[in-house]
């Protein structure tokens, strides 16, 4: 098997002491930000981008992936203990997990979340390792028109198909595409949307946008409605360990959650919310004691947490093989690759196999580290929740501005950070999704480049988009994915009925 050999090579890279250290830093940071409300993995990677600029690319990317996985583990702790999910993917965990914590079963809830995340993470990473070579073989045959069509699929699925409102999702995407226009056009050297401001000629920095939307926007939003919510930390009482009964009730949901999470994450379908909701409703239907749901059923924690982690590994499949980010964190990781001049895709597998396979192998190691960090040491992480909220958010803003100034020491950059922060605040208030903006900014210029390359090869014949069977199929998929949510308006309502 090809994948075995590559993976074995990757393992020799991953166990180098420096890379182990990077992975450890990544999972520590990731767990911390997952536990802390208000910061997610996407923001953390965004903040680290300017700082890691001078470090070794392989190590930094291993660290970013560790943050992604760690954030998924850590998020469950917050959901279970204070019922304020750190990110939307942990929303479902809070439903049953917080009830369990209130009933004095917080320990087993944390344990089933951590072990389930581990099982799902390992299986899904194995899935990534074995699927990637096949996808790379397919992707090698892609021409520019096929890449353009593929990005159209990603644009539509990330923004329209699975959100609450396709109109608001597409609005977010087009704001991102608009921001992607800013700067000098690479092919003709003309300045677009720059209005004579020299700072805009280089385009909008991905880090400034992401940090503004995620950090400043979140701080403004939480501060403005602080008077409405009261957080209560449930202490972990009783045994941390799962009983035999808990194990018996957990292992099937773990596997089913993985089966939902990995494929949905791997398809360019965006986000971990869908598989967690699917897993929750499936477990509710299959449970021997459905009446326990809503009062702390362990299946309702085990399944969604596994789905959550499996989908995180799944999103790495399109990211690494096609260069296609389908979540905000994946988009920031793509920006991480780009800052070293690396472009994920089939070429990267051919030219830098040690980097790609080292990353994949290190994900297995990261999962083991995370299991150790999250099971016996969960008490330490819970203490992070004792940081007073004012200092936490003040610290977040200090680091946010520091990262922005470090990337580009100019007042204009800070002004843009503030503007994006206000935009992030308004988007949260009016329920516009954030991820499509980031994806639009990163992928927009790439898609434009591929389209223009395709058209210049075909001497301006737009039919090239339909003559390639791959591109034609993908464009049809994009069209269906665009129209479907308008036709099936009920689809967005299934969330409401689950609550």
């Amino acid at each position: 098997m090809d994948a075995f050999v590559s993976l074995a090579h990757g393992l020799t890279v991953a166990i180098q002491p420096m890379n182990l250290l990077f992975a450890l830093i990544g999972v520590l940071l990731g767990t911390a930000v997952g536990v802390l409300p208000g910061i997610g993995p996407a923001l953390t990677v965004a903040l680290l981008l300017p700082i890691t600029f001078k470090l070794d690319p392989g190590g930094s990317i291993i660290m970013f992936a560790g943050i992604y996985y760690g954030g998924m583990y850590g998020g469950s702790t917050t959901s279970i203990l204070i019922n304020t999910p750190g990110e939307s993917a942990s929303m479902v965990t809070a439903l049953e997990g917080n009830k369990m914590a209130k009933a004095g079963r917080g320990g087993p809830a944390l344990a089933t979340a951590a072990i389930g995340s581990f099982v799902a993470g390992v299986i899904a990473t194995a899935g990534l390792a074995f699927l990637a070579p096949y996808l790379v073989d397919v992707a090698v045959q892609f021409g520019p028109e096929d890449y353009f069509a593929l990005m159209c699929v990603a644009f539509v699925t990330v923004s329209a198909t699975f959100g609450d409102s396709p109109v608001r999702g597409l609005t977010s995407l087009f704001i991102g595409l608009l921001l992607g226009l800013v700067g000098i056009d690479i092919l003709t050297g003309q300045a677009r949307m720059s209005f004579g401001v020299p700072d805009l000629l280089d385009g909008v920095e991905v880090t400034t946008l992401a940090v503004g939307l995620f950090a400043v926007g979140e701080a403004l939003y939480v501060a403005s409605r602080r008077h409405l919510v009261e957080e209560k930390l449930e202490p972990v009482r009783g045994s941390l360990w799962m009983t035999k009964e808990d194990w018996k009730r957990s292992w099937k949901p773990w596997l089913r959650g993985t089966a939902f999470g990995f494929p949905i994450g791997a398809l360019p379908a965006g986000g971990a919310e869908i598989p967690t909701f699917l897993s929750y409703s499936t477990e509710k239907r299959l449970a021997k004691h459905p009446e326990e749901f809503g009062h702390g059923a362990i299946e309702g924690v085990a399944g969604p947490e596994a789905a959550n982690n499996a989908s995180a590994a799944g999103t790495l499949v399109p990211l690494l093989t096609l260069g296609l980010p389908t979540s905000a964190t994946a988009a920031m990781m793509l920006a991480g690759f780009q800052q070293y001049g690396l472009n994920p895709g089939p070429l990267l597998f051919a030219e830098r196999p040690e980097l790609v396979w080292g990353l994949i192998a290190s994900l297995f190691i990261a999962n083991v580290m995370l299991l150790v960090l999250n099971l016996p040491l969960v008490g330490l992480w819970v203490r992070l929740l004792a940081i007073p909220q004012p200092w936490l958010y003040a610290g977040i803003l200090v680091f946010a501005t520091m990262g922005t100034i470090a990337a580009n020491p100019s007042v204009v950059e800070l002004m843009m950070l503030t503007l994006f922060g206000i935009m992030g605040f308004l988007m949260r208030r009016f329920d516009f999704p954030i991820a499509p903006v980031v994806v639009g900014l990163i992928l927009g210029p790439v898609a434009e480049g591929q389209l223009r390359r395709a058209l210049s090869i075909s001497l301006n014949d737009p039919m090239v988009l339909l003559q390639s069977p791959i591109s034609a199929t993908l464009l049809v998929i994009a069209l269906i994915a665009l129209i479907l949510p308008f036709v099936l308006k009920g689809m967005s309502r299934f969330k409401a009925t689950e609550d």
């Binding site: 300017p50 700082i51 001078k54 109109v167 608001r168 597409l170 609005t171 087009f174 704001i175 595409l177 608009l178 226009l181 092919l187 003709t188 677009r192 949307m193 400043v216 701080a219 403004l220 939480v222 501060a223 403005s224 409605r225 602080r226 008077h227 909220q389 004012p390 200092w391 958010y393 003040a394 610290g395 803003l397 200090v398 680091f399 501005t401 520091m402 100034i405 470090a406 020491p409 007042v411 800070l414 002004m415 950070l417 503030t418 922060g421 206000i422 605040f425 208030r429 009016f430 329920d431 927009g444 434009e448 389209l451 223009r452 395709a454 058209l455 210049s456 090869i457 001497l459 301006n460």
Partner: protein
């Protein structure tokens, strides 16, 4: 959710639609100033046209949503914390523009944000912000060689 009988258009929703329309107009105005170069393939104007058209259509979509009351319900909000945080950021920009330096700018931002989240011990928070700024400056500027804005305090270090 409001009952469908009360068909009052959502003013904020209409404002969003109007902003989108204005953005579309801005792109159109900007692209009309681009020079036409003879290039193979589509030129630099195609993508802005697509984005402007898309924003125009979405402006209509958002306006319809505003009229139908499709926007989510908003909770009451407090303006004071928002003003404090944005004010802190504004002071930071001013400090950096006039060469007061990174550490003092950080001090003000930290204290302003903490106040926005309900802290009343402003002087304590100023002290914490100062120490935090100092540590960050030393770690990132000296150890990682990032260039952070200099001021009188930074020059002493």
């Amino acid at each position: 959710m409001e009952s469908p009988s009360s068909r009052r258009p959502d003013v904020a929703g209409l404002a969003i639609a109007f902003i989108l329309l204005a953005l579309a107009g801005l792109i159109w105005w900007d692209l009309s100033r681009l020079q036409l170069n003879a290039v193979y393939g589509v030129g630099p104007k195609a993508m802005p046209m697509v984005v402007a058209a898309g924003l125009g259509i979405l402006a209509i979509g958002n306006a319809i949503a505003a009229f139908r009351g499709d926007l989510p319900e908003r909770e009451s909000l407090q303006w004071q914390p928002i003003i404090l945080i944005i004010g802190g950021l504004a002071v930071m920009m001013g400090f950096i523009h006039f060469g007061v330096g990174f550490i003092l700018a950080t001090t003000v931002l930290f204290a302003a944000t903490a106040a926005a989240f309900g802290r009343r011990a402003f002087l304590v928070d100023l002290a914490i912000g100062f120490v935090l700024g100092l540590i960050i400056y030393v770690v990132f500027s000296k150890l990682l060689a990032l260039s952070l804005p200099m001021g009188p305090i930074e020059r002493l270090l």
